[in-house]
């Protein structure tokens, strides 16, 4: 594992109205890991990602990407939001959504051209959605929509990927497609941070894990810290018993 730190979070605190959702989070994520963020509902998993990406404004704390403030490093970071966060009846096609991944590098006003289109088609191919490129997005299944979102992030060709529950409510085909992409990204030395719900698959899919419940409970290699002690601290119940039942 590389020793350099890809993402560093210092004293991050976020609140909706008066209630803190994240409290004083310190986090160092090494380059090249596939990390799961786990925790119960309302633990602030999505909020953590959104705060790192500047979508939410934190009350306190700072985020740096490869040692520089996030704002200067945007091009190194790609984001896969929750599928349910957009209106899929929007009048556009699968290819068009994936093309949006190129907008950041294009900047203001410039239009996507052949080069951008080619990149988008390649990304669609990678997630197995090329045959659906001209499909209206509402005509896609939930799993296919998720793969479109993934392709859109792949087009960004970033060093760091944040994914918000990419496995939520997807079919087996999509789950396998996503896992393959994750493995490929790891092989290419990218850092991937995934909000994840299914505890059973954590040891199989990920090599790094962060336990979160408003505060950071633990972070580190799955083989060292994915244990009953941390699960119990995070979820407040004896997880070993409930999983084995």
């Amino acid at each position: 594992m590389s020793s350099s730190i890809a993402i560093k979070v210092d004293d991050l605190t976020v609140a909706y109205n008066y209630k803190p959702v994240l409290w004083d989070i310190d986090l160092e994520i090494p380059e090249g890991v596939l990390m799961a963020i786990v925790g119960p509902n309302g633990a602030g998993k999505s909020t953590l990602i959104k705060a790192i990406l500047g979508i939410l404004k934190p009350i306190a704390g700072s985020v740096s990407i490869y040692g520089k403030p996030y704002k200067q490093q945007r091009k190194l970071v790609a984001y896969v939001p929750q599928k349910g966060s957009v209106d899929w009846d929007f009048p556009t096609t699968a290819l068009d959504v994936v093309m949006m991944g190129t907008y950041g590098s294009l900047g203001w006003i410039k239009r996507p051209r052949q080069k951008e289109k080619k990149a988008a088609l390649e990304a669609l191919e990678k997630v197995g959605m090329l045959p659906f490129k001209n499909r209206q997005i509402s005509q896609l299944s939930g799993g296919q929509q998720q793969r479109i979102f993934l392709a859109r992030a792949l087009v960004q060709d970033a060093a760091i990927y944040f994914m918000d529950e990419p496995f939520q409510g997807v079919d087996a085909t999509t789950e396998i497609a996503i896992i393959n992409i994750l493995k490929e990204l790891r092989k290419a030395g990218k850092t991937v941070v995934v909000v994840h719900h299914d505890l059973q698959t954590v040891p199989e899919y990920f090599d790094w894990v962060t336990f979160l419940n408003v505060k950071k409970i633990a972070t580190g290699p799955v083989k060292d810290i994915f244990n009953d002690d941390n699960l119990t601290k995070t979820y407040g119940i004896n997880y070993k018993v409930s999983i084995q039942e």
Binding site: K50, R74, Y79, S85, F90, P91, V97, M100, Q136, R152
Partner: protein
Amino acid sequence: MDIQEYFTLVFSDYTLRTITLGTAILGAVTGMLGSFAVLRKQSLLGDAISHAALPGIAIAFLITGAKDSNTLLLGALLSGLVGTFWIRGIITKTHLKSDTALGLILSLFFGFGMLLLTFIQKQPNANQAGLDKYLFGQAATLVESDVWMMAVVTSICLLVLLLFWKEFKILLFDKDYAKTLGFNTKFIDILITSFIVLAIVLGLQTVGVVLMSAMLLAPAAAARQWTNNLAKMVFIAAIFGALSGVFGTAISASQDNLSTGPVIVIIAAVFVFISFVFSPTRGLLFKQIRIIKNRRDLELHKTLAFMYHIAETHDNISHPHEIKILNNFHGFTKGTLKKLVEKHYVTLQGSTWSLTKEGFDSAANLYNQLSKNDE
């Protein structure tokens, strides 16, 4: 004057030409911008903005004493903008939902506007009459300079749309994602909202405070039915809006005592109605026809599949079987049997049926197709 006469006069008569051009341009620009309001699920925003513009008109009159449309509309623009940014402020700074904020500002500003209008009317000044035309609009008061103004604003709006097309699109579809790409979403948001306010204010003289939001929503809602492409939707909405303006003016000019604004809105509503019923992909009519047809096909396929299973067990596929063994668990009705005979899939002899070669092959093919769809 009848409608035919209107269309012969429209090119020669100055007044008719001015009004028609004005309403057409207005319809086009509101249709265009309305697409964005509809897709952002901000349909109510237009209504709130137009109502919020009313006190601005009254205050502009009170301060300047002028009644020319430019001065009054400038007042409307300012108070519309104030209303809009109050709405934004309420939504971001408080726990209130957006519909509450919109309703609150709408009634507050409209109430204040009405109060001022009544106050103005009670004043011993002969000049005050005519401000109430901004409530329901009066297209007949449009003059050439008004139309020029509309044309200029529409051109600027078109230019901005073309320039920031990609930014608008990504803001509409996925605002958070746009933010992570480094776009200043607040700027894009304010840009588009300001243009919506501008378009609404331009329409107040013609259509009026009360009905203006229909100009924004109706062409866009209708256009959404005909396409799954954002650019085409904006274009179609502009066309629908312009046509509503032209036909509305034509009808109101050719009849006595029909004011133009409401007629334009009703024409726009007709476009909505036609689009919701008759659009080939999203329309109610064709959707219903498709559902009925699919059901019938399924019934037919179910019965045919059942017959195929029975016929499969015999060496001779056309071995006759009793009709009785078919039952409605498999979608069987007398009607389906009749249809199968019509398609030459089945032949009947007294109380027995037998599959034809054609029917057998088609049933076998059905299975292949079904398993292919599963993949």
